[in-house]
């Protein structure tokens, strides 16, 4: 359960020295994508911060987001989860099960009413669809979400499924999946999209909430600007090749080996907003474009329905061959008809022509 101790106190209790704390703050600044000069301000804030209670709800998801977070390296997830937040309910990670697990959630909600955080991963069958598609302990996702969010301070939708509907919502959306923000409109919802999101971004958003006690600045999609403020393309180290017009055209041509731009191989970097190019993956080892694969655009809405991963961004998402053929055929018919009509009119005019004599004309005058 969330304690009344401040973070500074609880860290000192764990034998963390002043330097250790400062180091923690420096790492947190990096994690929050804040300038390192912010570390003293972070230190001052964290010193007084209280561990918030966190309830994590998993709906129609693949557990990839939790896999991502539990591999979060900075600071270690133990630090993050045990010292910084009090994770009171997460049915994949928690030891308790059955009645006890659900009781833990209800207790955390009672004791921290108005101040706990709800994290959601996965989309949920929306109102009007078959609730049987996804249930936990016999309750529909929708009921659990509404019940749990009621006393929450804010909701963090982790992953593209929770943020935008993701894979479950892809055409034809058999389960009627919706995103958290489609349901929750009376509480702040922070979207941390990505399939999965960069682990440090998940922990960074938590740290930010913890540090400053308020919600970060968000973009039009409700994503924290600190991480989603710039496109992949704008921070891509291959950008100079795009600008020069040097592109890899297959995965093994000379351009690919020389590390040229992956636009023609389907890179969605220009339309994708995320922090991969700077924060990278796997403890800062690399990221998709660096490893030679085009960006899939996983942090954007509808990315499963946005056309092939391996076709350029400029390529239409529909196959127009049939439309084009039909329209062309119709065009030929209409054009032919118009010409026939004109020809007919001309022939008729010739046939109907009545010669006029000069006398007839003069009579008319």
């Amino acid at each position: 359960m969330a304690t009344s101790k401040t973070l500074g106190e609880s860290l000192r209790e764990h034998g963390v020295s002043r330097r250790g704390f400062l180091k923690f703050c420096a790492a947190t600044a990096t994690m929050m994508a804040l300038p390192p000069t912010m570390a003293p301000a972070i230190a001052a804030a964290l010193e007084k911060a209280r561990r918030p209670s966190v309830i994590w709800l998993s709906f129609q998801e693949c557990t990839g987001c939790i896999e991502s977070l539990t591999r979060s390296h900075s600071p270690t997830v133990e630090n993050l989860i045990l010292d910084v937040v009090s994770l009171d309910y997460q049915h994949t990670l928690q030891v308790a099960s059955g009645e006890l697990a659900e009781e833990a959630r209800l207790q955390a909600m009672r004791e921290n009413h108005g101040s706990y955080l709800v994290i959601v991963d996965g989309s949920l069958p929306g109102p009007g669809s078959n609730m049987g598609y996804s249930t936990v302990a016999g309750h529909s996702n929708l009921d659990i979400l509404l019940e749990t969010v009621e006393g929450a301070a804010a909701v963090i939708a982790v992953g593209t499924c929770a943020a935008f509907g993701g894979l479950p919502r892809a055409h034809p959306n058999p389960t009627g999946a919706v995103a958290v923000q489609d349901i929750i409109t009376n509480k702040p919802v922070i979207n941390v999209s990505g399939c999965p999101p960069i682990p440090t971004v998940i922990s960074g958003v938590l740290a930010q909430f913890l540090t400053f006690g308020k919600l970060p600045e968000l973009d039009a999609y409700g994503r924290p600007l600190a991480f989603f403020g710039q496109s992949i393309h704008d921070r891509c180290y291959r950008r100079p090749f795009y600008d020069k017009g040097l592109f890899a055209e297959t995965f093994d041509d000379e351009g690919a080996k020389a590390g040229w731009c992956l636009y023609r191989l389907g890179c969605k970097g220009p339309s994708t907003y995320n922090a991969c190019a700077t924060m990278r993956w796997n403890a800062g080892t690399s990221w998709p474009v660096e490893s030679g694969h085009p960006c899939l655009g996983c942090s954007e809405p509808d990315f499963w329905d946005a056309g092939s991963f391996y076709q350029a961004l400029s390529v239409p998402t529909v196959d127009s061959t049939q439309t084009l053929g039909l329209a062309a055929a119709a065009g030929v018919v209409i054009g032919g008809a118009a010409a026939a009509l004109a020809k007919h009119g001309k022939t008729k005019a010739v046939a109907d022509r009545e010669p006029v004599t000069v006398e007839q004309l003069e009579q008319k005058l």
């Binding site: 420096a26 390296h73 900075s74 270690t76 700077t278």
Partner: protein
């Protein structure tokens, strides 16, 4: 060091080790930082994890900056390695967690990195600690 290092990977060395061009602006930023430090005494911090480096850019930058005379190690929440580069007043601060994974990497332009200095709170507590030690020594000697 980190868990990732235990995975056997054959790294293909690119045929043309190329410059991706993101190291040079950092060198210029360092230069500005040095001027600022000399003129006003104001330190500069550069978070190398916030720079969109290309493959090998970071390593090349650090290699160019070289090694200076000082190296230090802090043991608190995992190790922190602090190293002066060949350019005076330019320090590399490498933050590792308990598993030895890097959690942040900074370049600091300062006379001495702040983290090395004794923290004011610790200084305030220092006499009391020594007093405790003195008391122990005076109180019987068998403790010594």
């Amino acid at each position: 060091m980190s868990a990732l290092d235990s995975i056997a990977i054959a790294v293909e060395v690119p045929r043309l080790a190329q410059e991706w061009g993101n190291a040079l602006p950092i060198l210029h930023e360092i230069r500005h930082g040095l001027e600022r430090l000399a003129a006003t005494g104001e330190p500069t911090l550069i978070d190398l994890r916030a720079i969109p480096f290309g493959p090998g850019d970071e390593a090349r930058l650090l290699e160019r900056l070289g090694r200076g005379e000082v190296e230090a190690r802090i043991h608190a929440l995992g190790e922190t390695l602090i190293r002066e580069t060949a350019i005076p007043a330019v320090w590399l601060v490498d933050f590792l967690n308990a598993e030895g994974e890097r959690i942040a990497l900074h370049l600091q332009i300062d006379r001495i990195p702040g983290l090395l200095m004794t923290q004011p709170e610790d200084l305030a507590e220092a006499p009391a600690r020594l007093d405790r030690l003195l008391k122990e020594l005076a109180g019987g000697g068998e403790a010594a």
